[in-house]
């Protein structure tokens, strides 16, 4: 099964500090190192990337916005110039006509028609009709298609304005003809002190043609309003002619202005406008900012996707690399510590061996003297027949001699133990070796009423291996079993053949057992369930290594509350001498 849990690095749960910082046994807080390394590397790698992307995002947006503002401003100015020129040209023509012709000429409808036709021919478009109006507002002469002869204009706003200003261009209105148009009127004073007005109606189609032909982009709309916000031309999106637009009327300015504003729905707009001089007209060009910025938005989206993909890839690589490196450091550290502990263990065992040999020898000599002296006493009693009848004395001497024999056995065992700590391959009988190891724990078993049973098949062959390592393996496992068992427990050692090339030793106790969770990690260094009770978590780890050094395998089965069985499989013969020499430090 390959779950997420398997992705968890092996150092993840190891936040141990076995010793003070600086000590050779110090283990780092790997999770923190991992987090710090990822954080630092990510900042160093991602900050410039994100920074540059943000700068690019911001500046390209600003640059494009400025470009569109400038372009809109240019269009507004150019269009305003065209409209202004159109009106100025026609106003100038009227002024010329009014000054070049007498009132009599202008009152003559035939002549007025002729002038209108000439104007139409000369200026190409815009002029609809001409009217000559007396100072009382009555149109005395009219040339045009609407039959407006004798119409009274004295109450019309444009008539009042022209009387006041002399020349006037009106905004668009329907008038008597009920057709949208605007009026250019010129006042001429008579020598008698009165005045008359020459009025020309201008169609709005030229404006509409001009405005509709502008290439604006971004759902742009160009139109003309008057100072009250009433549409003076067609508009694509802001209403029909003579309707009031929803946008606010711009603040007066002599120059072209382009500003950012909001539409009815709150959509961002670029609004360009220009007041057309000497008219009540305002040219406006309105563009949808979002539409204009669409290409940039697309580019920005691509940049953001690229950024996200890059960040993901960089983070994945950083996490992968840092995990790999920290795992390497952790493994190396753990191996270093393991070796340190193995050396310490080996040195300890070597010291114990030396001490055992020394003690055994020191005791052996006085024991030998006691043995000989007691033997001599017995000889004197038995051989010379002097005290041979005294059974009590003979019994006492026998007791001394049997104690000497027992002490002699202990010293011999100690010497054998010390000798076996030296690494060397020899032929051994497994049952004998196990019984030797058990003899060290014999007294404890007796005191705690632990029943020990060794079962070996008759055809178990001898094996060639490192006796010292094997004894340490058995001693560690049996010691663990003793620790797990209650008083009165039972320890069973079985020796069986496993195929033709191996033997198998099963050491089973009926102790408290090991949980499944602990069972998976039981051979890991520093893993101990006896924390706080003197356990270093190295016993079984060392046992595991020693088993591999003698080319064996060790497995464990356990059930909580029922007991534990360790199974050690050993080859009949080591394939290399390295198994024995791998740890010369033991000698």
């Amino acid at each position: 099964m390959f779950g997420l849990v398997n992705l968890k690095p092996s150092f993840w749960e190891k936040n141990v500090q076995l010793a003070a910082p600086g000590s050779s046994e110090y283990l780092f807080n790997y999770r923190r190192i991992w987090k710090d390394a990822i954080l630092l590397t990510s900042i160093v790698a991602l900050f410039p990337l994100i920074f540059i992307t943000l700068v690019n995002y911001r500046f390209t947006g600003q640059a494009m916005g400025s470009e569109w503002l400038l372009r809109t401003s240019r269009t507004v100015s150019n269009t305003q110039r065209a409209i202004s020129f159109f009106l100025t040209e026609r106003r100038s023509a009227l002024e010329f006509i009014v000054h070049d012709n007498s009132a009599e000429v202008l009152q003559d409808p035939i002549r007025l028609f002729a002038i209108l036709e000439n104007l139409k021919r000369s200026f190409g478009g815009g002029f609809v009709d001409l009217g000559w109006i007396e100072s009382d507002g009555k149109q005395k002469a009219y040339a045009g298609p609407y039959g407006l002869q004798d119409k009274d204009y004295k109450d019309q706003p444009w008539f009042k304005q022209v009387i006041k200003r002399g020349t006037f261009t009106s905004d668009v209105f329907l008038g008597y003809r009920h057709v949208p148009h605007l009026v250019i009127a010129v006042k001429k004073k008579t020598p008698e002190g009165s005045f008359y007005v020459l009025r020309a109606s201008i169609a709005i189609e030229p404006f509409n043609d001009l405005l509709s032909n502008l290439e604006l982009g971004g759902l742009g709309d160009a139109f003309i309003i008057n100072h009250d916000g009433i549409l003076q031309s067609n508009s694509r999106y802001h209403g029909r002619i003579l309707e009031k637009i929803a946008l606010p009327v711009p603040v007066y300015s002599e120059t072209t202005q382009v500003r950012e504003g909001k539409g009815l729905d709150g959509e961002p707009l670029f609004i360009g406008y220009r007041f057309i001089a000497e008219t009540p007209l305002i040219l406006m060009i309105v563009k949808q900012k979002n539409e204009l910025m669409k290409p940039l938005t697309k580019t920005h989206l691509e940049i953001i996707i690229f950024l996200l993909v890059s960040v993901t890839v960089i983070l994945a690589v950083i996490v992968g690399m840092v995990t790999f490196m920290v795992n390497k450091v952790y493994t190396a550290d753990e191996r270093r510590l393991m070796i340190l502990h193995q050396m310490e263990y080996a040195n300890k065992m070597a010291s114990i061996g030396r001490m055992a040999a020394s003690v055994a020898h020191e005791i052996n000599n006085p024991l030998a003297v006691i043995n000989e002296k007691a033997g001599l006493i017995k000889d004197l009693f038995t051989i010379k027949q002097l005290y041979s009848g005294d059974t009590k004395l003979i019994g006492l001497v026998d007791s001394v001699l049997s104690s000497v024999k027992r002490a002699g056995k202990i010293t011999k065992r100690l010497l054998t133990f010390a000798r076996n700590l030296e690494a060397k391959i020899e032929t051994i009988r497994l049952e004998e070796t196990i019984r030797e190891v058990l003899s060290f724990l014999h007294k404890e078993a007796e005191h705690r009423s632990i029943e020990i049973k060794v079962e070996a098949l008759a055809d178990i062959p001898t094996i060639e291996t490192d006796r010292g390592k094997l004894e340490q393996i058995f001693l560690n496992i049996i010691n663990n079993a003793f620790a797990a068992m209650c008083d009165g427990g039972r320890l069973k050692v079985q020796i069986n053949r496993s195929g033709t090339e191996k033997v198998e030793i099963r050491i089973c106790d009926d102790g408290c057992g090991i949980s499944k969770q602990d069972l998976q990690r039981i051979f890991e260094p520093f893993y101990s369930t006896k924390t706080g009770q003197g356990g270093t978590g190295l016993g079984l780890s060392i046992t595991y290594n020693l088993t591999h050094e003698v080319e064996g395998q060790i497995t464990v089965d356990s059930e909580v509350g029922k007991g534990t069985c360790f199974t050690i499989s050993l080859p009949l013969k080591l394939t290399t001498a390295e198994g024995a020499n791998a740890c010369v430090c033991y000698s």
Partner: protein, 124 residues
């Protein structure tokens, strides 16, 4: 049977000699190799029981010298160090010999002495 006993532990070697004497074995004891060699000048023994570890001259070195003077003499070594197996590897250098780890059972010692004298195992 004439037996030479050499051990730097006087209490041990004297008691052992006396026990052998009680069993009608002609045993003489010495606490140094030098004294033992001097004694051999005046006549050889059938068998020598030597402590392995002695000051000045070790059991193995003494055996060399005794063997040079009395080639027929046979040897049993005693040791307080290590096991009989260790001892076997050490004595293998000079050929077969018998050995016992202290403390020694007198009956075992006697058995070995008889075995050596009645067989071809001893060093000649």
């Amino acid at each position: 049977m004439r037996v030479l006993l050499v051990d730097d532990e006087e209490e041990l070697v004297s008691a052992l000699a006396e026990r052998l004497l009680l069993r009608d074995i002609d045993a003489e004891w010495f606490t140094t190799g030098t004294d033992a060699l001097q004694r051999v000048e005046s006549g050889c023994f059938d068998l020598a029981v030597l402590d392995m570890k002695m000051p000045k001259i070790s059991g193995l070195a003494l055996r060399e010298k005794l063997h040079a003077k009395c080639p027929a003499m046979k040897f049993i070594f005693l040791t307080g160090y290590g096991s009989e197996k260790d001892f076997a590897s050490a004595t293998a250098k000079v050929g077969t010999a018998d050995y016992l780890v202290k403390p020694v059972d007198i009956e075992v010692l006697l058995g070995r002495m008889h075995e050596l004298l009645n067989s071809e195992r001893g060093v000649k």
